[in-house]
């Protein structure tokens, strides 16, 4: 929990605001004032700092696994069912 004294003053961003801005910063660049506000908050709030770290980790993990899944070998080893294969072959024969 953030100590009460850290919640007041300076930039008035609470954790709810900051988590919103962390997400937004992953999609666009924040105006400089907001960026500073978030930065200061993160120095004081270990939950929000952890939150940001975890969102970035999820992003990285998803990206690297997606890249791996989209190679010819893939990761999931999911296959088209024999039924679907037949159906598609038939559709291709008589388009």
């Amino acid at each position: 929990m953030v100590p009460a004294r850290d919640r007041e003053g300076i930039m008035m961003l609470n954790c709810k605001d900051v988590t919103q801005l962390i997400s937004k910063s992953m999609d666009t660049s924040l105006p400089v004032g907001k960026r500073i506000g978030v930065h200061i908050h993160l120095l004081m709030c270990r939950f929000c700092a952890r939150y940001e770290k975890q969102l970035l980790l999820i992003r990285e993990t998803v990206r690297s696994i997606v890249a791996e899944e989209e190679t010819p070998e893939g990761v999931s080893k999911e296959l088209l069912s024999e039924e679907a294969r037949e159906k598609i072959r038939a559709a291709l024969r008589h388009p």
């Binding site: 929990m1 953030v2 919640r7 609470n14 954790c15 709810k16 605001d17 988590t19 919103q20 997400s23 937004k24 992953m26 999609d27 666009t28 270990r46 939950f47 929000c48 952890r50 939150y51 975890q54 969102l55 980790l57 999820i58 992003r59 990285e60 993990t61 998803v62 990206r63 690297s64 696994i65 997606v66 791996e68 899944e69 989209e70 010819p72 893939g74 990761v75 999931s76 080893k77 999911e78 296959l79 088209l80 069912s81 679907a84 294969r85 159906k87 598609i88 072959r89 559709a91 291709l92 024969r93 388009p95």
Partner: protein
């Protein structure tokens, strides 16, 4: 010589079927929808074979067509969805903040070794499961942003929402997904999760 390889359409299913299916399933999380789009992709490819320039591999060309089909699918879902602007951004009780906007229950420490990339398949399964628990709008927005890697402007066009709206949707999707992955994946086996 030196042209990218090209196979006869009668061999497409065997050659590219599983690959396209995996790409589709990753984004749609629905086997029958994924199968349908693979079929549509092949049919569109057959009709437009002359558009294959040979500048890329045939597989890349087919995936390009598939991705258009997937965007169409999401567009259709967004249009048919009951909530045109996405879900209400703040359903009571499921965001982890108290009345003053501070964490009621903060994120748990995942420890030093959170991303166990040696178990990629299990991670993919969990990701799909967690995405399936979001509303289609949230799941599709996350998919387009983080799996497909599209920019927010493009995603807005597909989902027919404003950029401000999309930020709210993505924020919420990330928050719910983080929590889901925390319990199902990152803390699995540590005794800290449920």
């Amino acid at each position: 010589m030196g042209y990218p390889e090209r196979v006869d359409p009668s061999d497409w299913v065997d050659r590219y079927g599983d690959y396209l299916f995996r790409c589709a399933l990753l984004r749609l999380r629905d086997r029958s929808a994924a199968e349908d789009l693979v079929q549509e992709t092949f049919l569109a490819a057959l009709k437009n074979r002359e558009t294959f320039s040979g500048g890329s591999s045939e597989a890349t060309w087919l995936v390009g067509i598939l991705k258009h089909k997937i965007a169409d699918h999401f567009r259709r879902q967004a249009r048919e969805g009951s909530l045109p602007d996405g879900d209400p951004p703040n359903q009571p009780g499921d965001l982890p903040f108290d009345a003053t906007g501070h964490w009621a229950s903060g994120p748990t420490d995942w420890g030093a070794n959170p991303a166990d990339l040696f178990r990629q398949k299990e991670f993919l399964d969990q990701l799909a499961e967690c995405l399936s628990e979001l509303s289609p709008n949230h799941a599709n927005a996350f998919t387009l942003r983080e799996i497909e890697g599209l920019g927010t402007r493009e995603i807005c066009k597909v989902l027919n929402v404003t950029e401000t709206n999309l930020w709210v949707i993505l924020h919420r999707a990330r928050m719910l997904l983080r929590r889901c992955l925390e319990t199902r994946w990152f803390l699995r086996g540590t005794g800290k999760g449920s």
